[in-house]
Each structure stands twice: as C-alpha cells, then as structure tokens.
C-alpha cells in the first residue's frame, strides 16, 4: 500500500480536529495551549504535503513562518500561564472570565 498525499491530508485533518475539539472542551490552560500547538502543526503538515504534491517550495516556506510565530506564541503564552498559576494555583481558563471587559 502506497502512502499518497491524501493520507497526509487526512492525518492533518484528524490532528486538527483533535486540537480544535480539545480547545473547546478542556479547561486546563496548559492543555488548551497544547491543543493550539496541535492545530498549528496539523496545518504545517498539510502545507508540506501540498508543497510536495504541487512541487511548490512556498508550502515549506510557509511552515517556517508558522514555526516562528508558534515559537513566539509559546514564549508569551507560557509566561502568561506561569504568571496566572503563581497567582492562583489550579486555575482553569473559565475562572479567568473575571478578566472580561
């Protein structure tokens, strides 16, 4: 059985769906954060798959951009989470609704 591009796309879709549903269901900020990472990397996977399929380098270049943005996001996001956890341990994302406008 040969692994065609379709397999990669289906895998990416599955990972993305897991990430998206995790983000909506879980309440632990750290887990939600990991779900966001899952979604980003699912997209990366489809980028690479299409890049290879269409013989276009653009797909891989896009991945680099996404990686850089994701790294930056991790830095800020983790810092915020650490700060929250120091303040009140065991906080869930829903507890932080007090920050609404």
């Amino acid at each position: 059985m040969e692994l065609t591009t379709t397999w990669y796309l289906v895998l990416g879709a599955i990972i993305f769906a897991i990430g998206a549903s995790g983000l909506m269901i879980r309440r632990n900020p750290l887990v939600m954060f990991m779900c966001v990472e899952l979604m980003l990397n699912a997209v990366n996977l489809t980028f690479v798959a299409f890049g290879r399929e269409l013989d276009d380098l653009g797909g891989q270049v896009s991945v680099f951009f996404v990686l850089v943005v994701a790294a930056a996001e991790v830095v800020i996001g983790l810092a915020i989470i650490v700060a929250i956890m120091r303040h009140r341990s065991g906080a869930t994302a829903d507890d932080l609704s007090v920050l609404r406008g």
Partner: protein, 644 residues
Amino acid sequence: MEELVWLIPALPLLGFVLLVLGGRRLGEPGAGYLATTMVAGSFIATVLVFVGLLGKDAEERLFEQTLFEWIPAGDFSVDVGFLADPLSITMALFITGISSLIHLYAIAYMHGDKDFSKFFVYMNLFVFSMLMLVLGDNLLITFLGWEGVGTCSYLLISFWFTDEANATAGKKAFVTNRVGDWGFMVATLLAFFTFGSINYGEMFSGADGMATSTATAITLLLLVGAAGKSAQFPLYLWLPDAMAGPTPVSALIHAATMVTGGVYLLTRVNPIIAEASSVAPDVIAWIGLFTALFAASIAVAQADIKKVLAYSTVSQLGFMFVAVGSGVYVAAIFHMVTHAFFKALLFLGAGSVIHGMDDEQDMEYYGGLRKFMPITAATMVVGWLAIAGVPPFSGFWSKDEILLGAYENNVVAWVLLLIAAILTAFYMSRLIFLTFFGERRWSDGDPEAHAAADEPVADDGARSFHPHEPSPLMWVPLVVLAGLALLGGLLNLPFTGDTKILEQWLEPSLFGNEHIATSGAAGKWTLAIMSIVAAVIGVIGAAAVYIRRRVDKSVVEQPILQDAWMVDDTVTSFMGGPGRKSFELVSWFDRTVIDGAVNGTAAVVRHGGLVLRRLQTGFVRSYAVGVGGGAVALLVYFLFRTTF
C-alpha cells in the same frame, strides 16, 4: 533701514511679555516706564523705517518683509509678513507717537490704582495689535491685529470691572465689533477665492479687470467690518459706552488707534474699491455722512464731558468715511492724522479736568475752570479750535479737503457735511464754554472764597471740589499734542503741489485711485471760506447759548438728543422682545435638532455597545467556538460560492 520694520510691533510685544512676567514686581511706576519705553522705542524704529523709505525714489517706497510661513495648507498659504509702504508707515508713525504720549500720561493718571502694572500689560498688547493691523502684508495678519485690538479694548474698557456698568460696556464693545468682524472674515474668504491669495500685493496686481460684482461684494463686506471697528452707523453703539474705561484708554482707542482701523482698511484696499460698482463708494460716503450728522446732533446735548468727545469721534470718523467714499483717500488719512492729534489732546485734557474735579464727569459741575487749570485750559482751547475747523489750526485744513472732495462728488453731500461741521463747532464750543468759562457751578467748600469773589455758593453744598493742575507727567503730553494740533496742517497745505506733502508721500499706496480736485482756485477759495463761516457760526451759536445766554439751553438740548435718538433703547427693547424670541427659536433649533443629531448618534453607539458587550463573556473556550464556527461558515460559503 526698512529691515527694522519687524521691530515696530516686536517692541510692544516684548514689553507685554516682560510685564506679564515681572510687572507686579516692577510695580508703580516702574511698569509704566517700561511700557512707555517700549512704545517709544517702537516710535523710534518707525522713524528709522520712515527715513529709510524717504531715501528711496517714490516708486520704490515699498518694502515687504516675510518673517516665516504661518499657515501652509496646499494652495492656501499665509506668511507672517510686514508691508512697509507710505500708508502703513504714516499710520505707524502717529500710532506709536501718540501712544507713547498717552502711556506717559497714564503713568500719572493711573497713579495709586491697585492694578497699575496690569493696565500697562493691556496697553502694550493693544499697541502691538494695532501695529500688526496696519503693518500686516495680508488680510489675515491685519485680521489678527483687528481681533487683537478688539480683545484689548474689551479688557481695557472693562478695566474697572468691579463696577457692573464698566463690565457691560466692555462686553458691548466686544460683541458689536464681532458683528463687524463677520463681514471682514467673509470678505477675506471671498478675496482668497477670487485672487488665490490674501496678500495685498498679489491681490492688487490681480484686481485690474476683476469682476465688478466680486469687487463690490468684497468692498461692501469690508465696509461692514470697517463700520464695526470705526463705529459707523449702525454699529457705533459700542463707542459711547466705551467711555467707561480709564481716560487714557479712551484717548488711545478713540483717537489714535482702534477706530482708525476701519478707515485704514478701506484706504488700503483702494484698488478693489476702484474696480467695484460706483454704488459701493456711494454707500460708504452716505453711511459716513449720516453718521457724521447723527452723532454730531447727539453730541450737542450730552452732559458727560467724555460722552461729548465720544460722539464727536463717531462724527469725525463719519467725515473720514465720506472722504473715502468720495475717493479723496489723502484727505481721509490727513484728517485721521490731525484728528488723532487733537482728539487725543481733547481726551487727555478731559482726563486732566476729571482728575482735577475729583472724578466728576458731568459738565454741570464745571465752569470757570480756566483760572484753576491754565495749562489744561490753554491746550484744550487749541484742540477745540482745531476740531472746530478754525484756521490755521490743523483740523481746518483736513476738514476743508474732505468738504472739497464731497463737493466734487455730490453737492447735497457737501451741504449736509457742512451742517455737520457747524454742529461740530457748536458742541465743541459748548464743551469748552461749560468747562472753562462762565460762572463756577461747583463749590470748594469754603463760603468765604465765594463771598470774596462775589459768586453765588453752589446749591450742592455736600460736595466740594478742589480743581488743580495735574503733574508734569500729565501736562507735558498735553503741550506736545497741542503743538501737533496747531501745526498738523503743515502736512498737507493745499496751496501748490509742493506743499501737499502728504499727498505726494501717499501716492505710491493709492495706485492713482485718488480723486484729483477739478475745481478752480476761485471755487476752492469759496469752499474754504464757507467752511470757515461754518466754524464761526458754530462757535458764535454756542457763545450765544452758553455765555451770553440769549437762548435757553433747553432749546438746544432736546431730550431726544440727550437720549441719543433712542437708538440704544430701541435696540434694547427689540433685543429684549422679538429679538430674544427669535434667538430663543434658534437656540431651540440648536438644542433639539443639531444637538439631537449629535447626541442621537452617540446614544445609538452607546446602546449598541451595551448589547454587544454581553457577547464578551470572558470564557476563552466560547471564543474558540466562535472562531471555529466562523471558520466553518467561511469554508462553507466559499465552497458553495465556487460551486454555483
């Protein structure tokens, strides 16, 4: 030396700044001397510029100095620049010269006032504004000065603001001036649309062959502004009330500076008036004529010495407007200069009398003062003869020029103006006779002195007066001004072309728009004799009433004249009744419709926000659902759009 032109307004401005910062510390009389020095320095700078211009050929006597670009906005660009030409320098010379004398006088007059330094702060700012008005090289700089003198007049007229009447007079002056300013502003905009510039030089070079209708509109709109500033009917109402200010202020505003602004402006834009339909100058002349007669008739019956002078100023400004309307600009400027001399003299003299008479301004309490105040009396007699038009005093020469111009323009106008001249001689003689001659109508509280002099003791025994000559600081300016009022006619003697110094000097600023007299020598002599006769009739008439008492004064001083033809009352009752109603309607429209539209927009946004803020729950996961749902919706949309 024309490069020094920026110094002329800069020195009073410097004085203003210094006095604002350290005026209180300088106190009395230091602040007054500083202010006087600055204005005197400005006068010296003006003389230097004047000498510089004199050294050039007549055609080259025009110097423009641009300091910086003030408002650059696309095609619209306004520079802060000065224009030194014969007209503006003539104005600047007598403004700074007379202002210096008035400042000097004010040091003594304001002695002991608790706001002594503040007074000079305003005075310097006033002189600065006035110099900006005359020296500006475009309409906007002139307007800046125009508004500046308006503001300063408000501050100075209501200087003793603790008295309700003074504060009201200041507000009245300001508001009435604003009515006129409207005309000035619209004229400025119109000039910009027509010429693409509001610089005088560029405007005038574009004026040749411009549309008659536009030129007429600009002229008439500027006339509205000029009528407000120069107190012409019906915007003269502020000036008589403006007497509420300290007397040096009256002299400054009503003789040398502010009120001359309107005449200056109309003279400045003579190339545009030349292009306008002949209706425009006629309107100017008739407004001036009516004002001259109207104000002179009121001045005849006023009891307050300063009110007489105030209406006299309105009347004399009417003469200048007649001159402008008749195309004899030189006569207008000539009369403005001589009027500045003798009216400043008369105001300062009146101030000296008021000072000596314990702040009493009602002439009913004066009489026989010449023995007690010989210098004031002598100088004021010079001013009286000058304004009455008795040769060889300065007023005769300038008034005669105006009468000649009016005669060649319209004989009816000349006759009416001659009547105004008779009235002028009459009311001024009345003022002098009531004040300095006749019996004493005041008491010095010492019955024996009266008995010794074989005079009746005044009924008003409760008040005693001790008239005395003021300090040299006050009478020296009087003597200088008396000299100027006596000799001012030398500026423009009408005998030959060579003696018309002012006419030759002003020629480059008038671009050949000056009306040249066509009457022969015999006609001119006849007119001159007529105007002398008019002056003599006025003086003799006043003598008959107030010295010989052949006629009872109640014949002359009609109640309607004392009430200034009830104009003030009419305006008040109109504004209090139907006027107020209509303004309330406007105010209602503003509150409900205009404010309603603005507030309505704000209300819609506010309520929309209150509803929408409920969407922001703070639950990150519900946001995620929103984002996810949105992404799906977009996907669906694009999928189906491409399919169908």
